[in-house]
């Protein structure tokens, strides 16, 4: 096992197997464009404290990136599912892959947490487009705003292929740039959920196209929220099923593999999930029957706890950033105790080192 003399920082955009366990710095300019949403909150605090954002190169992310490099984009989309115990680094691997895709010039559709769309919704409007569905204006407009920040340069290049009518007086013509549609969705909050549906449909149609073709990466965190139960209630106190929400309905269509020219990368998450036991982490348990049947076939990517080399690297990184301040934590005894207390779980280690 190669022990690194210190945490090695690499600056290449394309990490390879040699760089396993080492930290790679995301340039500060990328943080606001690529990740307006989507990073775990504790990681965002860490970026603010250390004045830099470093991500560890780990096996699941490398596996995903190698799959993405070698996939055939004229065939129907491949779906990749990251699964693992709580705190093992699924969201961080997803963010690493999203950053890779955006540096390669892909269009990234990043949904930070699908569970946020099925719970705690203050305003649930009945949809104008479809009688039995419900709209969520606030969530949809927030997401469109972040989508606009992420993909500025694509918005003027992609032209609409269909005419969309919003009200008697408003409509968006064929051939207009996508940016106009997104701006309309952000400003007219009432129809923002339908705008989201239109954007997803347009991107799905145009992703594999030969003229001005771009690759589309759909990154969904907490995908098991799309097929469970919701905590939302209609006015007569009956529960709302996920299918009855416009956002969820359109996202499910996106995750189907009936389009080509891109990839769907999803993460399971028990932390925000509803009505799921806390010990569940396998795809079968969290997705349920319906979800598993819709996601099937997918490429499962297991995310494990830190190996010895990765733990070493993380420990040295915290030492280098002056984060481990307790005098005893810098000794061998303290390190053994940290391994024992955290069981090499990345998030538990982070919380322990926070107050040590």
């Amino acid at each position: 096992m190669l022990l690194l003399a210190g945490p090695c920082f690499i600056f290449v955009a394309k990490p390879t197997e040699q760089h396993l366990g080492q930290y790679y710095t995301v340039p500060p300019s990328h943080f606001h464009t690529v990740f307006p949403h989507g990073l775990p909150p504790r990681y965002q605090q860490q970026v603010k404290t250390f004045n830099e954002g470093c991500v560890m190169v780990r096996q699941p992310a490398l596996e995903l990136i190698s799959h993405l490099k070698r996939a055939d984009y004229s065939k129907p989309t491949l779906r990749y599912l990251l699964y693992g115990v709580k705190g093992s680094g699924k969201t961080m691997s997803l963010c690493h892959t999203v950053h890779y895709c955006s540096t390669q010039g892909w269009l990234v559709l990043h949904i930070p947490d699908a569970h946020l769309w099925v719970k705690n919704c203050k305003e649930l409007l009945p949809s104008s487009y479809h009688a039995s569905r419900f709209d969520q204006p606030i969530q949809a407009s927030n997401w469109l705003r972040n989508f606009r920040t992420t993909n500025e340069h694509f918005l003027s290049k992609i032209k609409l292929r269909q005419r969309y009518v919003w009200t008697k007086r408003e409509s968006t013509e064929e051939g207009r740039p996508l940016g106009e549609l997104v701006d309309m969705g952000v400003s007219r909050v009432k129809s923002s959920s339908d705008v989201v549906g239109a954007v997803l449909k347009e991107l799905r149609l145009q992703a594999g196209g030969t003229e001005g073709g771009f690759r589309l990466a759909v990154a969904v965190d907490g995908v098991n929220g799309l097929w469970g139960r919701t905590t939302l209630k209609k006015e007569d106190k009956s529960p709302v099923a996920p299918e009855e929400l416009t956002l969820v309905h359109n996202l499910r269509k996106m995750i189907n593999n009936d389009w080509c020219g891109g990839a769907v990368i999803a993460t399971l998450s028990q932390t925000g999930s509803l009505y799921a036991p806390s010990s569940a982490y396998l795809p079968q348990e969290l997705l349920g029957e319906e979800g598993f049947d819709s996601m099937d076939p997918f490429v499962p990517v297991p995310v494990s706890l830190y190996s010895e080399k990765e733990f070493e690297s993380c420990y040295l990184y915290y030492l280098d950033r002056h984060w481990l301040q307790h005098p005893h934590s810098q000794t061998e005894e303290g390190k053994k105790e940290l391994i024992f207390l955290s069981n090499r779980n990345p998030s538990v280690l982070e919380r322990l080192c926070a107050f040590l």
């Binding site: 603010k48 404290t49 005098p327 926070a354």
Partner: protein, 229 residues
């Protein structure tokens, strides 16, 4: 020897009993949770340590409390502070507040450290434990006041304080200050970290309270001879 003396270890209570005095027979020894003591080989022990070890092999030992650990990160002063902050026996919440406070202090200091120019980096103290201990030292009063009755009237007389009393007063003032003088929306750990950082640099309300006590003691110097111990 132990077998013959076990007859003497009857349940025993002293004649004068206060509520929180320990019920253990004084024959029992204190537990020693630190691991380093037991790793020293036979040859390197001093005579006192050898005697202690022999005594431990014969005498019974009290049970260790839940808050005492053999972990290297165990800090008795911090444990005392957690116990003082605890309400209704809820140690989990109290310990949670203290860990959040330490994390908050460390975050502020490390952020300042990373943004500071090279020359100023050495002056910034990032260790939250060092800041906590130094802040508590800065809040400890040197001299205290007590009420003594002389000729029908009560006078505030300056008296020396023991170490334990000084530590208790510093912690008590810190906790009451953070509980009372904060905005309704500020959380306890936020206010505590602000106060501790202020006390570390000898500013803030707690250090002011200590100075006021010193001034009162100075002004009541004339009554110092009323103390008879």
């Amino acid at each position: 020897m132990a077998a013959s003396l076990t007859g003497l270890l009857k349940p025993w209570t002293p004649r004068v009993l206060l509520v929180r005095w320990s019920r253990y027979n004084p024959y029992y020894l204190e537990p020693g949770p630190r691991k380093e003591v037991y790793h020293i080989p036979e040859t390197e022990l001093t005579p006192e340590q050898k005697e202690e070890r022999e005594l431990k092999s014969v005498r019974p030992i009290k049970a260790a409390t839940n808050s005492v650990t053999s972990s290297v990160f165990n800090d008795p002063v911090l444990s005392k502070f957690v116990n003082m902050m605890m309400k209704d026996g809820d140690k989990i919440i109290a310990k949670g507040i203290i860990t959040q406070t330490l994390e908050n202090m460390k975050r502020k200091q490390v952020e300042k450290y990373h943004k500071a120019p090279e020359g100023k980096k050495a002056e910034i103290e990032c260790n939250p434990y060092a800041i906590f201990h130094q802040a508590l030292e800065n809040c400890k009063p040197v001299i205290g006041l007590t009420s003594i009755q002389k000729g029908g009237k009560f006078y505030q007389v300056p008296i020396p304080l023991t170490d334990n009393r000084r530590r208790f007063l510093a912690m008590k003032w810190m906790i009451t200050e953070c509980r009372d003088n904060k905005h309704r929306r500020t959380l306890m750990y936020e206010k505590l970290s602000q106060e501790l950082l202020a006390a570390f640099s000898k500013e803030g309300n707690v250090v002011k309270r200590k100075h006021e006590l010193h001034k009162m003691a100075e002004s009541n110097r004339a009554y110092a001879h009323y103390r008879w111990w």
